[in-house]
């Protein structure tokens, strides 16, 4: 397999594919992961806030059965393997996008799979906040909404950014699987050329680009988190 991979014909062919198909695939992967993560945060952030603020001792307690149901739904969605979830949400995808196949359509299952994960990440970020700071805000007459918007969320921005970085790299991993339902991107190239047509070099190139993309997301995420964190003693 290794020898075959680097035969002159294979290398020339792989370079040709790299030139013709990779730019679009890279863009598609980028677009799908960023869009899916953005929507997942849109759904997962309020849900994560509710999980923490809605507790019995939270700032905005909600009825226990409702909190329990939310937790069950999150756990349920997180238990379904992505490959199966993708197929299960076909009807929903058709309803939202109009079709169940294609690059844009693959965003729907990605969001469904990742927003419960994001909710859990947000939950863990918010739990890191010193409860004394929340108590101080209460002692100043802050409303529950003010505590969420002016204390809990702003105080956990660095942690939220770190966790969203984890989410986007996970979404990237899932998105490679969506090649199966016609989702475009690097995953599709890897599967189509590597698995179906034995062009391992193309697969290898796709994997290298995926690795680079993960590095990019992680570097940007880590830098943003560090830059926004005012608890670190910045030198002036």
């Amino acid at each position: 397999m290794i020898e075959k991979m680097f035969e002159s014909g294979a290398v020339a062919e792989a370079l040709e594919i790299l030139k013709n198909e990779f730019p679009l695939a890279l863009w598609e992967t980028f677009y799908v992961t960023v869009a899916a993560t953005a929507f997942a945060v849109l759904l997962g952030l309020p849900l994560g806030v509710l999980l923490v603020a809605g507790e019995k001792d939270g700032v905005l307690p909600i009825p226990k059965p409702i909190l329990h149901i939310l937790n069950v739904i999150i756990n349920l969605l997180r238990s379904v393997p992505f490959l199966i979830l993708m197929i299960m949400v076909f009807p929903l995808t058709r309803l939202i996008v109009g079709t169940a196949v294609g690059t844009t359509a693959s965003i729907v299952p990605l969001v469904i799979a990742s927003f419960p994960f994001v909710a859990r990440l947000v939950e863990s970020s918010l739990r890191e906040i010193d409860p004394n700071i929340i108590e101080a805000a209460q002692s100043m007459g802050a409303t529950p909404m003010q505590i969420v918007l002016k204390v809990m969320l702003p105080e956990s921005v660095p942690s939220l950014l770190s966790n969203i970085t984890i989410a986007i790299t996970t979404v990237l991993g899932y998105s490679a699987m969506s090649g199966i339902i016609g989702g475009g991107g690097l995953g599709k190239i890897a599967v189509n050329y590597g698995y179906y047509r034995y062009k391992y070099l193309v697969m290898l190139l796709a994997v290298i680009l995926l690795i680079l993309l993960v590095q990019l997301y992680q570097t940007v995420g880590t830098r943003l988190a560090a830059k926004t964190d005012k608890r670190l003693k910045h030198k002036k």
């Binding site: 004394n132 100043m140 007459g141």
Partner: protein
Amino acid sequence: MIELRNLTKNYTTDAGEVNALRNISLTVGDGEIFGIIGMSGAGKSTLVRCINMLERPTEGQVLIDGKDLGALSPAQLRAERRNITMIFQSFNLLMQRNCLKNVCFPLELSGMKKKDAAAKATELLRTVGLADKAKAYPAQLSGGQQQRVAIARALATEPKVLLCDEATSALDPQTTHSILSLIRDINRKTGITVIIITHQINVIEEICSRVAVLDNGSVAETGEVREVFSNPRSEAARRLVYPASFAPEYTETDGGGSA
């Protein structure tokens, strides 16, 4: 005037019922600096949190100028809390906001315009001697400086009462002294009523006029500071004034009894 009438606070924990406060009645006059002293676990923190209803007393009333805080609606209580502000042992500043924005925070909560809030906060930072730290973040400040910012923040809404919950317990003696003189200055200038919760007898001696000794959830003794400390009548007060004669002897076998 602050009146605590028959305050009782019970908790239910895994270990059973805990009587944190038992039938506490105290009166603190306007403009007074009143101390509440007690050992760890005497119920001091619970008591101070009942005064602004961060904790609801199981029984009894808290009256501020005759207004029963327990009878207020949540919105009325939040408004009243701008009149009874608090500083803490761990300062509890917002770590992602600079000092100026920290002082602006309670003003923002009350809906004051950003520009007006910033002007007022700048003035308050000058009062506490930190005008040059407006743009600094809490993590860049020392403990004493952080407590000064917390004091400025507590004063922003022009409260009638300042509650100090072990506010100097994390500070060294010199910083403690400077924070206490700041509180006394503010008390003299504005006539604010101050309630100081502490386990440090020297804090009470330095700035309080009257003191209540809290022991095991009850008031053991109350009176003028000089009177109580020079002639302690209760055992709890004697334990505070003469700790050495009450401390359990250290023996190697039991590892001593003091916490």
